[in-house]
């Protein structure tokens, strides 16, 4: 009796391994991955056209899955107005919303959120916290009608890239605080189009792995937005002292 059950458990583990392999299909090829063991489907697709077609189909499905979450809520917008639509979109993605003069509305661990905001048709949304949400270029069209938005946090959003940042100019009149910390796809090229946001007072661009020179980028962004406080890396982070040079004669901030 024990033997068949053990066999079944083994089968389940193999299935899981194959599923993980499917989801890693479109990842960038790194030098380690060629050394890693190839999954069963990868091995078979070299020999069978059907398996190759199956892998292509699964890749397409994976790509299109992200689009469903970011579909446009146009029908809701007609009925409830732009503010409620934007709030509903953010709450469904897992973010938090704050209406003017009201408290923050957040979904709980199960994803449920209170629905009394559906009555706030004329109350503008003033703050959106979309940290970690799967929002992308399409989804931003639900956020852009929020003309009184003052605080926007897009921390650690995996699908926010340079194209999305180029859309933010529509919020230039009201946006005062923007946080892009930890977004893996934002690079210095997208940061260049933030110059439209002249009312911005606080900008957080720390921890951006796609930015090639964080220190230099911060200096250039500070020059671009003179009235804004830019939080990022310390400008001296990229500098390195020569081993034989000592910092002589430099005025130290703290006098001995």
């Amino acid at each position: 009796m024990a033997a068949p059950r053990a066999f079944l458990r083994l089968g389940a583990r193999e299935w899981n391994a194959r599923a993980r392999g499917i989801h890693s299909m479109s990842e960038p090829v790194t030098p380690d991955s060629s050394r890693k063991k190839r999954t069963l489907l990868q091995f078979l697709s070299d020999y069978f056209h059907d398996i190759h077609a199956l892998r292509e189909y699964l890749l397409r499905k994976q790509i299109l899955k992200g689009n469903r979450k970011n579909r446009s809520f146009a029908d809701i917008q007609e009925k409830y107005g732009p503010y409620v639509t934007g709030a509903l979109f953010i709450l469904k993605q897992g973010g938090a919303v704050k209406f003017q003069d009201k408290e923050w509305i957040r979904p709980n661990e199960r994803g449920h959120f209170p629905t009394e905001f559906l009555e706030f048709r004329k109350v503008p949304v003033e703050a959106v916290d979309a940290s970690g949400c799967a929002i992308n270029y399409q989804g931003m069209s639900n956020l852009l009608p929020l003309k009184e938005l003052r605080f926007l946090s897009l921390q650690c959003c995996p699908n926010v890239d340079d194209w999305c940042l180029s859309r933010l100019y529509l919020l230039a009149d009201s946006l005062q605080e923007l946080s892009l910390a930890g977004c893996p796809q934002v690079s210095e090229r997208g940061l260049a189009c933030l110059h439209h946001l002249q009312n911005l007072r606080r900008l957080d661009i720390s921890d951006l792995p796609a930015v090639s020179h964080p220190g230099l980028t911060q200096i250039l962004v500070e020059e671009m937005l003179p009235h804004c406080e830019v939080l990022g890396t310390d400008w001296a982070q990229g500098l390195k002292l020569e081993p034989d040079q000592q910092p002589q004669n430099t005025p130290s901030p703290v006098s001995p």
């Binding site: 299909m25 479109s26 960038p28 090829v29 990868q42 697709s45 190759h52 892998r55 292509e56 890749l59 397409r60 790509i63 299109l64 270029y137 340079d162 194209w163 940042l165 180029s166 859309r167 100019y169 690079s187 210095e188 090229r189 997208g190 940061l191 260049a192 189009c193 110059h195 439209h196 090639s212 020179h213 230099l216 980028t217 250039l220 962004v221 020059e223 671009m224």
Partner: protein, 487 residues
């Protein structure tokens, strides 16, 4: 032993039994054919050298439904859309013939500046740009290949700034109105607003400016080209390095509804000559796409386009010729900041930022008299000193202290008629389709043009963007598609 039997069987048997019919020979020249056959059999026998049959795996296939002449961005885009829009998986066989797989000698894509903007005066160009931006935004959905790295376009969304003087201000305003109607996000700026937004600009002589807020900028053309190559190879398109030397055509007389006699030609075979050898392969094909860029005029002449009395449709040549353009890279530490768009000045000089290190890329479209010699890709450094630098320094004063790092040259597939592209079939050579002549805009319109040509080949009409103003017949009818072009 076997040899003896064969010799008896073939030699005496024939003359005795007489395989000829009573009327005459089986075929003409039966004796020569028999001796050839005997030679082949003797080769197969053990002990003889296997000379007759040789390896042809390096040659292109003998048959292909569509042959695309030119494997640059336009050729690959047409191949991609042909395979994407085919009715069944594997329905169309496509062959792309490219002279140089390293794209170093004569390609226009490699040295390109890579800009994309919607500020055109022809509505179809604006639509093409909008579609191309959409395509580039979702590039990893379109060009996804299993197990391949993602395409990183390095797109800079910094926008494009067009400056206009007094006399061009009205045209610019009309153009911007048309562009906004098509859906481009372009706005007009006055000189005062321009000075506030970009303090490093000298607004002397500028009456009006148009600025693209979104969907404009520049990207890396090389990564797009490589991504397209990978994708079309995975879709089953064959890419061969070679040169098209000859077209074998057949013609027939037809009568137009008004009773005129017209000779319609059809290309039956394409001779593809292999690189660095005299070998060629005749490829039978159903359609030929001329996407040879600057050399499209020569390819069209091979098909007999333009051979006739001047002034007739037979005598209308394809007016695409190579024109050399320089791109210069310079360093200016006090130059404009990170927000610099692609600036196109009234004088014809354009520049954009490159990277984080105060480097700038730019160039100048010369007038007809100042055209550099297109026979080679040598860079004339005096061109920058005399023609480009004065205008740059006048527009952006901090560029007075710039230092040129590098310059390179590339070809435009320049359409001498009206500097706009040619798309669609030729009226007399019925199965040659053009996708060329875009004079500097080919890269940014490539996805849209590829789709239009694929629709024309597969459905016989343009389904999405109507490119009928770009057909070949306008050269004969003399209808110029005049455009207020910036570069």
């Amino acid at each position: 032993m076997l040899r003896k039997v064969l010799r008896i069987g073939l030699g005496s048997g024939l003359s005795n039994r007489g395989l000829r019919t009573r009327r005459g020979g089986f075929t003409l020249d039966w004796d020569a054919k028999m001796s050839e056959f005997k030679k082949k059999i003797e080769c197969i026998l053990p002990g003889k050298q296997w000379e007759e049959l040789y390896d042809t795996s390096h040659l292109p296939p003998k048959q292909s439904d569509v042959v695309i002449v030119g494997g640059g961005i336009l050729g690959l885009s047409v191949a991609f859309w042909l395979k994407k829009l085919e009715s069944r998986r594997g329905a169309i066989r496509v062959l792309v013939v490219e002279q140089d797989h390293t794209y170093s000698r004569a390609s226009s894509t490699g040295p390109s500046v890579g800009g994309i903007w919607q500020q055109f005066s022809v509505p179809e160009n604006v639509q093409l740009s909008l579609f191309s931006v959409d395509f580039l935004r979702n590039i990893n959905e379109h060009l996804a290949v299993v197990d391949a790295p993602l395409v990183d376009l390095r797109y800079n969304p910094s926008g494009c700034l067009l400056l206009a003087s007094e006399k061009d201000a009205a045209t610019l305003e009309n153009n911007v109105k048309m562009q906004r109607q098509e859906g481009a996000k372009v706005c007009l700026i006055s000189p005062e607003q321009l000075q506030n937004k970009f303090p490093w600009i000298n607004t002397e002589g500028v009456a009006l400016a148009s600025y693209g807020m979104e969907d404009e900028g520049w990207f890396d053309a090389w990564s797009l080209l490589q991504g397209l190559r990978r994708k079309v190879q995975s879709m089953g398109v064959l890419l061969y390095q070679g040169e098209v030397t000859r077209f074998i055509t057949s013609s027939g007389q037809m009568q137009t509804p008004s009773g005129e006699q017209v000779v319609l030609r059809r290309i039956n075979e394409v001779h593809v000559k292999m690189d660095k050898s005299l070998e060629y392969q005749p490829v039978e094909c159903a359609a030929v796409i001329n996407a040879a860029g600057p050399w499209s005029g020569q390819v069209a002449e091979l098909a007999g386009i333009g051979k006739g009395l001047p002034g007739t449709l037979q005598g209308t040549k394809l007016p695409v010729e190579p024109r050399k353009r320089y791109v210069h890279l310079w360093h200016c530490p006090q130059g404009p900041g990170l927000e610099t768009p692609l600036v196109a000045d009234i004088s014809g000089v354009y520049f954009r930022r490159e990277g984080l290190g105060s480097n700038y890329l730019g160039g100048y479209s010369p007038t007809e008299e100042e055209e550099p010699d297109p026979t080679n890709l040598e860079v004339d450094h005096d061109f920058f000193q005399n023609k480009v630098w004065p205008h740059l320094a006048q527009r952006v004063p901090s560029f007075k202290t710039l230092k040129v790092q590098r310059s390179w040259a590339g070809y435009y597939d320049y359409n001498t008629f009206d500097q706009n592209g040619v798309v669609g079939p030729h009226p007399l050579v019925v199965n040659m389709y053009f996708a060329t002549g875009f004079s500097g805009h080919g890269l940014q319109h490539a996805p849209g043009i590829g789709r239009a040509v694929a629709e024309m080949v597969l459905d016989g009409q343009f389904n999405t963007i109507d490119m009928s103003p770009f057909l070949f017949t306008r050269f004969y009818l003399g209808e110029k598609l005049q455009a207020y072009n910036i570069l």
